[in-house]
Symmetry: C2
Amino acid sequence: MGFSDIAALPRDKVTVVTIARRAGVSSSTVSRALNGDPRISDGTRARITALAVELGYMPDALARTLSGGRSGLIGLVLGPVENPFYISLLQEIVSQAALRGLRPLILHLGGGSVEDETAHALRQYRVDGCLVTSAHLSSDIADLCGQRGVPVVMLNRVTRLRASSVSCDNLEGAGEVARFLMAEGHRRFVLVGADTASSTALEREEGFRRPLEESGFSVTRISGGVSSWAGGFRAGEHIAALPEEERPQAVFAVSDIMALGVMDALRRRGIGVPEEISVVGFDDIAESARPTYGLTTMSQPVGTMVQRGLDLLLARIANPNLPDEVTLLRGKLVVRDSTRQRMV
Amino acid sequence: MGFSDIAALPRDKVTVVTIARRAGVSSSTVSRALNGDPRISDGTRARITALAVELGYMPDALARTLSGGRSGLIGLVLGPVENPFYISLLQEIVSQAALRGLRPLILHLGGGSVEDETAHALRQYRVDGCLVTSAHLSSDIADLCGQRGVPVVMLNRVTRLRASSVSCDNLEGAGEVARFLMAEGHRRFVLVGADTASSTALEREEGFRRPLEESGFSVTRISGGVSSWAGGFRAGEHIAALPEEERPQAVFAVSDIMALGVMDALRRRGIGVPEEISVVGFDDIAESARPTYGLTTMSQPVGTMVQRGLDLLLARIANPNLPDEVTLLRGKLVVRDSTRQRMV
DNA sequence: TTGAAAGCGTTACCAG
DNA sequence: CTGGTAACGCTTTCAA
């Protein structure tokens, strides 16, 4: 006994029975005491709690789940992570989920379509709920979850399917961008979109177009193909190749990552941003704030988005019968150096 | 019966007993049949399998774990995701893990230190093993896992602790960069590092320095503070501010993300890259390949890294007594446009 | 206020 | 080849 290295040895697993025996009570009592059941005497509870701490007891989440409880697991479906916006969403989700005692189980990540694997995991692990941040594969997942009675909340995506959602008010946000550009004296506009039509991108296009056309301006749409830096770059080259008289004074790209591509392409072709062309994005990813870009953009309230998303999810986990709810959050225009007032 | 929407209703959960009853056998038999136990007659197995498919049976991973099996969960500890390199690691991990039937449970993400939350999850969910891709918080995790007998594999990090690891041969890789630069005729070198000393960064510094000093060149070290674009940018501004005669011909940054910052800073100050100064990085993140950067860099074999990492992990999950193993992978020098041959 | 026992879904051991 | 039974660790009636 004098020389045993107790702490280092993997002692037998400490369970409710271990504690029960040492405390001279039943395992039910231990469970109740530890879970704050009000009908346990203060004395017993104190004794049990102390013992639990002393023995380093840690409840087994799996056993707990099996016996009818919640798993504490939330399934995560992440969109194309090449776009840093999804990474900031991920960061926020992970830290906020931890605060609420939830563990994110990655079900899917990236642009590809949802495979069987994902469906399996969803069922096998009894996730309490699902957070979906993808613009594309959301419908499949929603169906899957709907069938299993697993609540789903979409982030950065609205849907008509059985699911709640939290997203930025894309329509209004893009509209604000348009009005800002008009107010700054711009008269010729280009809208940079992508081919893969996500609801998010579509709304932003629509939101940007409307006020402009209502004011009698026409908007030229250019697609970069994919929604990425490369897509934006391609669109930018296209713009740079336009004859002088068709060249826009302002470009709005439906995502920051594309906007950065546009900026890079224009500057590479010797076109000054913002001197000759103003560029605006949407999202406010970290790169946009770099001094080399200084991109003017509609900033999404990522923190609040995730917070509201988890609120909705937890509420539906507690009560699966709550009706679906759609939350729209207002973005904030961040004016940096990629835009400039034009002489009228 | 004629009008019931069977598929949409959440039918009772299908378990082994459901199948057992319908097949007129015991649940043990069902379990064995479904798990490919060789002592089950072909007839029975066929019948059971068919039934399982028909009823849409899906084994419950939690129950399975509880009864002594593996959870199929691997804990994930991710480093500072602001660095895109960690994202590509994440992507690779998620897809390769899925292929092997493993689910990544996010334990921690980001630069911060490991909180209690992480430790809890580690124990509560019976993760089979842990993958750690962080340069900093690896020791804590390793300790934690060591105590619980959970195998750990470090990615992009070597360690003297109880854990196996897979990483790029940083020493050799950085050495190759140095030799390449000398061969291209560079004579004055700057090494850009960060204050937070990760083993990875340290090895790269050492690897870069050694061959240079052996050849009689001196290397000036500049720290950008943090290992990020901003850190690199600061270092770059520092370099740009150097008096003409002290200005280096080549700069090596210990990570691509820093190298990009350096490039941006230099160019912003009107210093041509590669015309006046060559810049080289390490990692080969996606951004480095953008035409606007074209960064010459030591490319890390991310795919192989993750593959070997999972190999090591699975082997140790199967047999916890295997000794720790350190795998070094050779990087590949990718020469792009940020470097140029100097006249001698 | 507490205890005994059943059950969650699976696998594993021991019989037959 | 197959069936019974115990066990995994916890929660939750039902009794006392």
